[in-house]
């Protein structure tokens, strides 16, 4: 008889979860907090890994004086160790109505869970936000750390509500009003917004958050097969748009979609961030263990 295994979470299979636990984020720049953590700081620290010596200044902790050197040359030198600081991982999941199509929201939650688990298992501070309605405050998971918080993080993501018309650029600003700390901002959205993302990415950058932008699009957004005269209805705003001979415009649609992706990628690149577009039909394993691993997002 096949052995039945209880899934730890509905978001990630156990094997994926087990592998994710051994992975860690690989930001381009060290954006860490002063709190002790597992990310080596440029400054001297209290780890066991020796870094350098410097002259003793009054007020320095005498515990770090190298007494052997002092005994030989009678001059106090302070022994410096590499400092391992804590990094803040901000997960921002777009839960608006546009993400409720073709499994985009599900993949976003899976990826958020994976990034969150990586953060927790590497003693990072992990916080999660999800925006739905403009008038409603974002759903927030306050920062937590340690593997003991994994259950809490996964439960938060599993119960994340969807719907609403909150545009992603406004959601980023709303999140930044509540967040403090450097690190990585993982933005999971379709980025199909009528607004401009430039300001939002600037704010993230200025908040010392390295941008990890993941654009998740449905298969009919990536490769629509439409013909005839249609009246498109926006799922978030209920606005309509009459389009005749849609089939004739598909080529132009592809040009605009690629242009949007290229524009977002350029915005991220200029701010030392990263950007990737994926289909909601892609398997979580191939995304995590193939695409993101090969691109160096994680290690």
């Amino acid at each position: 008889m096949p052995e039945t295994t209880t899934q730890f979470t509905s978001l990630l299979p156990n094997d994926v979860l087990a592998r994710v636990e051994r992975m860690r984020l690989n930001p381009l720049k060290r954006k860490t907090n002063h709190s002790r953590g597992e990310h080596l700081s440029g400054k001297g620290g209290a780890s066991t890994e020796f870094a350098d010596y410097r002259d003793y200044s009054p007020g320095d902790d005498v515990r770090y004086v190298d007494w052997n050197i002092f005994a030989r040359i009678n001059h106090p030198y302070l022994k410096l160790y590499k400092h391992e600081e804590e990094m803040h991982v901000v997960l921002l999941v777009d839960a608006s109505r546009s993400m409720q199509f073709e499994g985009k929201f599900d993949l976003a939650r899976q990826l958020a869970a994976a990034f969150g688990v990586m953060g927790l298992f590497n003693v990072e501070k992990v916080s999660a936000y999800s925006c739905t309605e403009r008038a409603v405050d974002p759903v927030v998971l306050p920062h937590c750390t340690g593997r003991s918080s994994m259950r809490r993080l996964l439960a938060f993501l599993e119960e994340l509500p969807g719907g609403g018309e909150f545009p992603i650029e406004a959601a980023i600003e709303e999140v930044l009003k509540r967040h403090r700390g450097k690190g990585v901002a993982v933005v999971l959205s379709d980025f199909l917004t009528l607004g401009d993302m430039t300001r939002s990415f600037n704010l993230l950058h200025s908040a010392n958050l390295e941008i990890f932008a993941l654009q998740i699009l449905g298969p009919t957004e990536l490769d629509p097969e439409l013909t005839g005269d249609l009246r498109f209805v926006d799922s978030e705003t209920n606005q309509t748009l009459d389009v005749s001979s849609v089939g004739e415009l598909l080529g132009l649609y592809h040009e605009h979609r690629e242009a949007l992706s290229n524009h977002l990628a350029a915005l991220c690149r200029k701010r030392q961030g990263r950007f990737v577009t994926m289909s909601s039909e892609e398997d979580i394993k191939s995304v995590l263990f193939d695409r993101l691993l090969r691109r160096g997002w994680v290690r």
Binding site: R97, S98, M99, Q100, F101, E102, K104, D190, L192, T193, L194, G218, T220, E221, P224, E225, L226, T227, G228, D229, L230, R231, F232, V233, D234, S235, E236, T237, Q239, T240, L241, D242, V243, S244, S245, V246, E248, L249, L252, Y253, H256, R257, L260
Partner: protein
């Protein structure tokens, strides 16, 4: 001719006003399929793209409307019934004459007869008939027959066209033209189309070339469309026999070839179904003819048949066979009163003559071959030829009178069969025929008489043909003239005997041509059934005198005359027409006042375009329907 198409129903253009409600209702009732999508962001940027807003793209956006507008426009144009102007002038009433004479059965190298070629062209006209055009079909051979009324019913016209067949008779275009002329009294006819091979009766022009002359005043424009020349042909153009002895006939056959090419054939003569002599082979250069002579010994009646078997191409089959009925050999029975000594004296020296009466008693024969008399009562004796001397016919008594005096012959017809080699100069006549007061020669001619000799004050010799009977009237008594003492008198009597023998078919027999069978002498007041070569049966009654005449013979072959199921006699009808056999077609017809040239090219008629427009509208409708039914693919939520 304008290259612009004509419009038959311009008022239908008002239907273009339907475009207004069409456009209005289109935009009022335009229903687009609603489809919810995650975001309009991308599509809005697509729509805002400059390329999308180009005029061409705007044009494509309302493709459905454009389809509907195009469909409506095509339908309205079809309702306006446009047509492409042809070479021929548009005619509302168009009589189409189709030559159905024997030569129209001639086939070309591909085996298509000229009648079939004419039918193809006429069928094209009928198929493309405009709604305001009416056509009547008239067949023309030696007579004309109107196949349909003026109609635009294509089914009726095509059925009538298919039923047209060739008659094995010569062509007489006057008949058809007169019929068309009669139609002009009822209908506005400007143009008449005539489809023929140009094989018409001709006579030589000044240069000796054949020239088709039609004695007719054209009251309309005649479009003569000549059909293509067929392949070579060889055929029998004459078949007759002359008695060359008491029990011997010389049978003459003339075979002619067309001008297309050299021809060859084998000629076989048979009598009562049995071959006579050995077959003769004939090779003719183009346009040449050859006369063949066969000898046939018989004193009994016989049915001769000459059959031509072509060695190579032969376009026309109708002229490959001919028939001839030989009578029983017997002497010519001549009634001549004993008082007419001069006539009897001249007759007695001639061969094959039974001169009656032999004594004083009246022979009381039922029929004679020749009656010569000076008594009006003898005109009642039944004969095929009469010569009455010193008798004014009863119907001319008011026109002519005979008085005593002296007169002479002023002029006479030297080529008349009766007066050949007869010299009337210095002939003295003591009976003086004169015209009555106010009477003229025309009145005599109107009564059917032909003046053969004319005296000082009136006619002297008249000839009249009444059906099979031929009568000569010498208005003076020969005994009161110096004629019996002239050398020309026995010559005149000999000529008369020769004519009488021909009349009685005792010396020369000719094959009966198609058209109408020769008059037959049968039992009086009987109904006879005539079975033609095509098994077509008609009934006809003989007259009180036992003559059966006017039997139509449209096909070459043997006609059986039956009475109560028994075959009474057989009569063969043959084409025997050099013009038809030659297949020569004239390029020009000379009418009284003008000349009509043939058109070889097919003159295109006005061609309606409405059905093409209707097809196009249907295609557009299908396109619109296909476009409408293309269901857009939705985005699953």
């Amino acid at each position: 001719m304008s290259w612009l198409p004509g419009i038959t129903t311009p008022l239908a253009a008002w239907f273009f006003a339907l475009l207004i409600p069409l456009v209005v209702f289109y935009f009022l009732k335009l229903r687009r399929s609603r489809m919810e999508i995650p975001s309009l962001a991308l599509w809005r940027s697509v729509i805002q793209d400059q390329r999308v807003n180009s005029p061409f793209q705007k044009f494509k956006r309302n493709l459905l409307l454009l389809f509907q507008v195009a469909c409506l426009c095509l339908l309205v144009l079809a309702a306006m019934q446009p047509f492409v102007r042809g070479d021929a002038e548009q005619a509302t009433y168009l009589p189409i004459l189709i030559d159905t004479s024997a030569s129209m059965a001639a086939t070309d190298a591909a085996g298509q007869s000229r009648l079939d070629a004419a039918k193809d062209e006429v069928r094209d006209i009928i198929t493309n008939l405009l709604s305001d055009q009416r056509v009547t079909l008239i067949t023309v051979s030696d007579t004309a027959q109107r196949m349909t009324e003026f109609t635009d019913n294509k089914r009726v016209l095509l059925d009538a066209l298919d039923s047209i067949e060739v008659d094995d008779v010569p062509s007489r275009p006057e008949e058809g033209l007169q019929l068309a002329q009669a139609l002009t009294r009822t209908f506005q006819i400007n143009t008449v189309r005539f489809y023929s091979d140009g094989n018409l009766p001709t006579r030589p022009d000044g240069a000796g070339e054949p020239m088709a002359v039609v004695d007719f005043d054209l009251p309309f424009d005649l479009q003569f469309h000549k059909l293509d020349d067929p392949a070579a042909n060889i055929g029998i153009t004459a078949f007759n026999a002359r008695k060359s002895g008491e029990d011997r006939w010389d049978v003459f056959v003339r075979v002619e070839g067309s001008e297309a090419a050299q021809t060859a054939a084998t000629i076989t003569l048979s009598a009562n179904g049995e071959p006579v002599g050995s077959p003769e082979s004939v090779v003719l250069e183009a346009g040449q003819s050859q006369r063949l002579v066969f000898r046939y010994d018989s004193v009994d009646a016989a049915s001769l048949q000459i059959e031509l078997t072509p060695d190579g191409t032969d376009s026309l089959a109708a002229d490959n066979i001919a028939f001839l009925e030989l009578p029983v050999s017997r002497p010519l029975s001549v009634f001549c009163p004993t008082e007419l000594v001069a006539y009897r004296h001249s007759l007695e020296v001639l061969d094959d003559i039974e001169l009656l009466p032999q004594g004083d008693e009246d022979p009381n024969r039922a029929t004679y071959d020749l009656v010569i008399s000076d008594s009006r009562d003898d005109r009642d004796r039944e004969a095929s030829t009469y010569l009455l001397t010193g008798v004014v016919p009863a119907d001319l008594e008011g026109v002519l009178s005979v008085s005593d005096g002296l007169t002479s012959v002023i002029d006479w017809q030297r080529d008349s069969s009766l007066l050949q080699h007869v010299q009337f100069a210095d002939l003295d006549i003591t009976d003086v025929p004169s015209y009555a007061a106010g009477a003229e020669a025309a009145e005599i001619e109107q009564l059917g008489y032909e003046i053969l000799a004319h005296g000082d004050t009136g006619p002297l010799i008249l000839q009249r043909r009444e059906g099979p009977e031929l009568s000569f009237h010498l208005l003076f008594h020969t005994d009161r003239s110096t004629l019996p003492y002239r050398v020309g008198f026995p010559v005149l009597v000999s000529n008369l005997v020769g004519i009488a023998k021909e009349q009685a078919n005792l010396s020369d027999v000719r094959g009966a041509p198609t058209g109408v069978l020769p008059t037959l002498s049968l039992d009086a007041d009987q109904e006879y059934w005539i079975v033609g070569p095509t098994e077509k049966v008609v009934s006809q009654s003989s007259g009180p005198d036992g003559t059966l005449k006017g039997i139509s013979a449209r096909d070459v072959g043997t006609y059986q005359i039956q009475n109560s199921g028994d075959v009474v006699t057989r009569v063969g009808a043959s084409l025997l027409n050099p013009t038809e056999t030659s297949l020569h077609g004239v390029d020009r017809i000379h009418f009284r006042e003008l000349t009509v040239d043939a058109s070889i090219e097919t003159a295109s008629m006005d061609r309606p375009l409405w059905h093409w427009l209707a097809y196009a509208a249907f295609a557009v409708l299908l396109g619109e329907w296909w476009l409408f039914l293309r269901r857009p693919g939705g985005v699953p939520v």
